[in-house]
Symmetry: D2
Subunit: 387 residues, 4 copies
Amino acid sequence: MSLKRKLRYGMVGGGPDAFIGNVHRMAASLDGTMELVAGAFSSDPEKSKIQGELLGLSPSRSYPSYAEMAEAEAVRNDKIDFVSIVTPNHMHFPVAKTFLEAGFHVVCDKPMTNTLEDAEELCQLVQKHDRVFALTHNYTGYPMVKQARAMVLSGKLGVVRKIVVEYPQGWLATPLELSGHKQAGWRTDPKRAGAGALGDIGSHAENLARYVTGLELEEICADVTSFVDGRIIDDDVNMLVHYQGGAKGVLHASQISIGEENNLNIRVHGETGSLQWFQEHPNWLYYRALDGPEQVLKRGNDYLDNSAKHNTRLPSGHPEAFLEAFANIYLNAGKTIAAHLSGETPDPHDLDFPTVQDGARGVHFILTALMSGQRRGWINAKYTPPT
Amino acid sequence: MSLKRKLRYGMVGGGPDAFIGNVHRMAASLDGTMELVAGAFSSDPEKSKIQGELLGLSPSRSYPSYAEMAEAEAVRNDKIDFVSIVTPNHMHFPVAKTFLEAGFHVVCDKPMTNTLEDAEELCQLVQKHDRVFALTHNYTGYPMVKQARAMVLSGKLGVVRKIVVEYPQGWLATPLELSGHKQAGWRTDPKRAGAGALGDIGSHAENLARYVTGLELEEICADVTSFVDGRIIDDDVNMLVHYQGGAKGVLHASQISIGEENNLNIRVHGETGSLQWFQEHPNWLYYRALDGPEQVLKRGNDYLDNSAKHNTRLPSGHPEAFLEAFANIYLNAGKTIAAHLSGETPDPHDLDFPTVQDGARGVHFILTALMSGQRRGWINAKYTPPT
Amino acid sequence: MSLKRKLRYGMVGGGPDAFIGNVHRMAASLDGTMELVAGAFSSDPEKSKIQGELLGLSPSRSYPSYAEMAEAEAVRNDKIDFVSIVTPNHMHFPVAKTFLEAGFHVVCDKPMTNTLEDAEELCQLVQKHDRVFALTHNYTGYPMVKQARAMVLSGKLGVVRKIVVEYPQGWLATPLELSGHKQAGWRTDPKRAGAGALGDIGSHAENLARYVTGLELEEICADVTSFVDGRIIDDDVNMLVHYQGGAKGVLHASQISIGEENNLNIRVHGETGSLQWFQEHPNWLYYRALDGPEQVLKRGNDYLDNSAKHNTRLPSGHPEAFLEAFANIYLNAGKTIAAHLSGETPDPHDLDFPTVQDGARGVHFILTALMSGQRRGWINAKYTPPT
Amino acid sequence: MSLKRKLRYGMVGGGPDAFIGNVHRMAASLDGTMELVAGAFSSDPEKSKIQGELLGLSPSRSYPSYAEMAEAEAVRNDKIDFVSIVTPNHMHFPVAKTFLEAGFHVVCDKPMTNTLEDAEELCQLVQKHDRVFALTHNYTGYPMVKQARAMVLSGKLGVVRKIVVEYPQGWLATPLELSGHKQAGWRTDPKRAGAGALGDIGSHAENLARYVTGLELEEICADVTSFVDGRIIDDDVNMLVHYQGGAKGVLHASQISIGEENNLNIRVHGETGSLQWFQEHPNWLYYRALDGPEQVLKRGNDYLDNSAKHNTRLPSGHPEAFLEAFANIYLNAGKTIAAHLSGETPDPHDLDFPTVQDGARGVHFILTALMSGQRRGWINAKYTPPT
């Protein structure tokens, strides 16, 4: 990589009460390859300013709005290289559009947009302006998820038959949004979140299954529920899924499964072998062949695929976790941005991050699942985003 | 219990190559309360005779057919008290009917029958002849399953919202039935088995969920598949389920999930707490309340419910497993039979075994799920068996 | 096996309040190959009689004392084939001696005796009278323990370097013996138990390590403690151990480790691989080679050693546990006794049970560890029992 | 905290091939509160310069030696606030001494020194120059370790009786040092490492037990071994330990336990409860009381102690791991250094990092264990470092 300096980035969203903004900042800073230099951290200019101070930014680069930030940064010599968008969901689209049109590369939280039209417009903008766009489906950043993908794609499991992917949480089992909890507030508000469990975590589950197996959905039959009294948005979803090539499966996500913290997990069963992975114990991957003992593959070992090794920082037994996986999205996207800035071709491993097309697929999935739930039946789920 | 002798029982099925017959015999003999004295172990009289010899039976009580056995035993002074039916599924009905009409109590393997008409006729015969009928849904014999049931029924979890019950196996991931494997042979033959994964293990999953929560199904939407080339019968099923009272969930069962051995497991999520149990590690039950740490309840401890204690033999840490759970069906049914023979009222704990009505419910579930799969949609699953 | 009948056995000990007597009876009856026909169940003749009734024995064979039982049985035509001794430890020797001298085969609980002299006399009596003697170090009856042994002895791990064997329990963390608890009473009484944690469970740990690795002790350095106020006997022991051939390790056992139930476990590390096994999850065995993923070997699979298969009853995923392991001691010893009665040579697999020499080694270990603890230092632990 | 800027630090050691240097840098940068501005990364000036370039340092601050670095930095206006020492063990002392005498605060890897004299001199220098000194016993940085400590110190377990602490690894099971492996090279060289398994990881085990329980050692009896042919330094150590107040236990550490990656773990058994924690699954802590089910405490929950919450960054279920724990040492030490620079009193939670006295205790432990191994017996292990 011939860019001889750290990347500079700005952030939209991620104010004092936000959870995910700080996660993005830690992920971005972990490897010492990029630094935060600008931000519009809140729709409240005062809060944005305070957050900028806490983060040690130059006061001139704590902006009162994302629009002013895009405009001002675009004309600086030391302008940001990319923007990180960590707002509630409904703001992803206008912010991303604004920065893409201002010529910036983008890292954006998921789900990408609340409508498919917006998602497809972003695809087109990325194409038109030739920018790097990374969507933080962070769970695909785990090394052992990459190992799983490598094993499936190399044929180690044979033709995939069954996929079970789950994302149970329990934190919204009570009407937490009524107590002034900021996270719960916007995530259960249809205007800001779009969808509930389906958008927040169901989309991660779909993305994980697609990433690991390389398989697109063909049709789904969803059962979408709001369990908590007074909640409009879904907080639980179960669905039957069919993938291209004949694989079938189950996808379920929940925010009312008490005792579950963040238990994203996946099982892939092929004609000759199976895999299983749990996000809460992410350094281990279980592989079972038709014959022979179960194998427990552990991060950091020589026997792993290069894609896993490329995304690991610590020796085996020194556990990595959520932040390192998240940081892999930033690290790989950052290297790709740096290559772009230097006019170089990025290392293929550096291109291993979720794209704007992944984002559009996720939006299509969410909307299709909601529609299936309303119709109480199977529904076509095939989709090809603009490229 | 005033019956001063061991119970005597006969067996139909359970010849030399059978798996489940030997399980029944070990389960029956574990506690030293009953002894096998007669049998029609095979449709091949010669095999039946050989098996009787191996088991140390009197030659006169190794019968060439179940019909002859019922007839001959009925007139003996030392006749059997009950018959244990461990044939392939399609023979459960004629054998059970024959023995009920000959006045015998019955222990029968599951699924009970291949048609609902047969199942309902058995319900009526049990009622008419006032016999004890126990169905070996053995997984409900585990003490920690009884603990789970006690906790749900006592309201410890609040209103149940979500139930996830799984029964993955992998042993039929290849066309094992083509290799002369006896078990695989009849279990994949629609004439003898009725249904495949759905009947063999899906019915256990449904029964387990119903036993633990006390909830009946309202509607289901099933996806039923035969994955292995040339196999007619289902070897994988995924379904969305709605229970009475508003609980929703997922039930899936599979015989093609490589690496899974016999991983029946259940999660029940209520408004105030959750439970999780795994058949392969059956001595532990996980309980999570809205607040506070997860709890791991372990078999054999004072803090457990009496229903769990009543069905346990060993101190904590001395693991019990499959055979003890199976034996609990025999032990409880046997005590109920003994009470019947003595004209006594059985201890309520002894009545804790699956009944002929449970069998009819299971048959209805299997047939409804098959129909849902054919129709590709939601289908009413409510059912009340004759009593 | 040409013995065409069930074996007949009698029991000494195992009265109404005993724990281990019922375990022995369930283990003996599991396979339907032997039946209990006589007993001296208690030092209190009345209790012995009541227990005999409860167990359905002929009243004439519920004896008031073991001595009368040995004398009376010896002259019956249908006399017992063997005696099962399940008394407190101090009675093992006189009972075993009496029955050996009366010509009976013996199954005896552990530790075998309280003195080395007694242990060695039993070795000599077994030899002199040519009887079968099985000691119920039941944990070596687990199939996956046999698998571990097969792997170590076949050289799969290379030369053994390190052995860590643990047996933590917590049930005596309080002075339970002061509350009238029968089990706690005799097990903490030096006169009846000999040693405490060391004898009751430390001896299992030593036996397990020896069985799995085939290695004898060379020297030990023990730290023996009575933690609970007022308790004379040891309730916790930690020791450094050296085995023949250069292996080193740690052995610790405890009855005051709160929360531990019966967590016997072992790790064996060789020059080229390692094994780990836990009694509380006994169906799985962990194997790690120098290279490659960890392997989880699971009971019931084709890839296991014949010694494991020979001692298994159920298919994989249908967990076996404590009773089946215990029953393997009875089953193998029973087959060996039957062969003896028939004048046949037993199958080598049937000889796989702990012997009187194992018992003498265990007694030597206990006494040596106690001495090391008193001397606060390393002590020679080599020992060869009479054969 | 009134210091309005990031802390500046320099690094000694941590060249291109080093493992731990990069860990320190990631840990330091995670929270965005400090930046690396200077370094003497290698004893080879050319390598130091290259590493400085890779890390984006100003060329003038990539020093050819630590002595030049200390001298040059001391007179800069923008001098480093502290130095991070990540060299092989034998260099810790001269580097730390040099920087302390030049007025810098110090973060130093462990074990602190190879001799007790050096360790005590560092204690005195820290005192004399009133500097902050943090030793990276990083495993005490885990939130759930802090939770364990809070529970023990608050009396939740009652008086501690037994402590089992283990640190097994397998990476040195073969003579890796003969293959040119840099890490293996210096860690098995007595001149550079001082001790082997004992120093590298045994010292972590001792520190962890002391941190969690607050108990000092009284006496130990160690068995110290070099298993691998040709290796001079210890690669395995087992020891019996006595703590003040009557607690006893076992401590063992190994680098030849094949298949073990970095399995530091601890069990603490008190009179009324027990705790267990595993470094490889660091977000969970197991608590068992005398009565009631086992509890699994999970990082990120409200029910945890403030000391755990103070050292956590992510919500429950979003696993934290090794780097976050390591970063907690840097974050807390950094806040303490910042308070020192600002003339403020640090928050008591910020003082929660290992000190120079912890380092001296660790050195004393290592040397005492080596001596006990040589003498083959118990040895006094009491020690009070200079303060």
